[in-house]
Symmetry: C2
DNA sequence: ATTTTTGCAAACCTTTTGCATGGAA
DNA sequence: TTCCATGCAAAAGGTTTGCAAAAAT
C-alpha cells in the first residue's frame, strides 16, 4: 500500500517527500468536512502531540494550496480559512453556522461570466464565487426561515 | 455647498462628524479608479502631509466599509484591497494588470445562485463573485490574446 | 551521500486597542 | 459644553524567514 490518503498521494505524485509532519497535516485535514484555519490545525496538532511546528504547518498549507488539494477561502468575517477540495474548477458553498462546505460546479455560472465578459469588454481570466448560507442540517436546528 | 464629495456626503448623511482626517481619506479614495490598499493610502497621506494617523485611517476604512461606499476585496494574491463602489449589491471585475475595477450587476448570476440553492438544499444568505482579467486598455497594451 | 524538510526563534506586516487630548456639533 | 474622533504607542494577530540540525530519498 502506497498510501490511502489522497492528500499524501498528491504530494507524492508531485515529487515531494512524504515526511512525518506532512502526513500528520494531511491526516488532520482529512477529518474536516468544513473549513479550518491554520490556527485550528496548529492547536489540533499540538493536542495530539503530532510534533508539527507552526512554520512547517504554514509551509504545508502553502504547498497543498499550490497542488489544489486545499483552497484558501476568505470568510465574510475577514478570516482566512482553508477547505479540502477537489482539483477541478469549482466554487464553495459555506454554511455560516457550522462551517460545512459543499463544492459547487460552475454550471450556469459559466454563461453568466461569459455574458459579463461580453458586456464589459474585459478578458476574464478567472473568477471566484463564494456562497454563504445555512446547510440543511443547520436550517433544521435553527428553525424554518421566518 | 454642503459637499461635492459623495463619500463625505455619505458620512454626513449617516450622522458622522466631518473631520479633517475623514475628508482627507475621502479625497484620496476619490482619486482611485481601481483598488487600493490601506498601506497605499497611508503612504499617499504621508507624502501629502495630510496628517492622518494609521489608526484613524483604518478606522475610516472600517466606517466607509460599513456604509458600503467602499468594499473590501480579497485579491488572488491574498492581499486585502478596497474599492470605492456603489451601494447596491453588485460584484467586482478587477483588472489584474492595472487594478482598475468595474462594477458588475448581479444579472444572470441571480438565477445561477437560485439554482445552486435548489440543488444543494442550502438556504443561501449571501454570495460574492470576484472576477479577474484584463480590461480593454490593458488588453491593447499587452497584445491580443494568442 | 545528497537534497529536501524541519524546528526554532526572531522578524515582519497588517490591523487593533487603550487612553489622554483635541475638535466638531 | 458635550460627546465623538484623533494620535500615539503599544499590543495583538497572522504569516514568513534564516539557519543549523534532522530526515527522506
Amino acid at each position: 500500500m502506497t498510501s490511502s490518503d489522497p492528500i499524501v498521494e498528491a504530494l507524492g505524485a508531485a515529487g515531494y517527500r512524504l515526511t512525518g509532519p506532512r502526513r500528520a497535516v494531511a491526516g488532520l485535514i482529512a477529518e474536516y468536512d468544513g473549513h479550518f484555519t491554520a490556527a485550528e490545525l496548529e492547536i489540533a496538532a499540538r493536542e495530539r502531540r503530532l510534533g508539527v511546528s507552526r512554520a512547517t504547518l504554514f509551509r504545508a498549507l502553502e504547498l497543498l494550496t499550490e497542488l489544489h488539494v486545499v483552497e484558501r477561502l476568505d470568510l465574510p468575517s475577514g478570516e482566512h480559512a482553508y477547505v479540502p477540495c477537489v482539483r477541478e474548477h469549482h466554487h464553495h458553498l459555506v454554511c455560516s453556522r457550522c462551517g460545512r462546505v459543499a463544492d459547487v460546479e460552475d454550471g450556469a455560472l459559466a454563461d453568466a461570466v461569459a455574458e459579463i465578459a461580453r458586456r464589459s469588454g474585459y478578458r476574464i481570466e478567472s473568477h471566484r464565487l463564494e456562497l454563504f448560507g445555512l446547510c440543511r442540517h443547520c436550517q433544521a436546528k435553527a428553525g424554518p426561515s421566518a
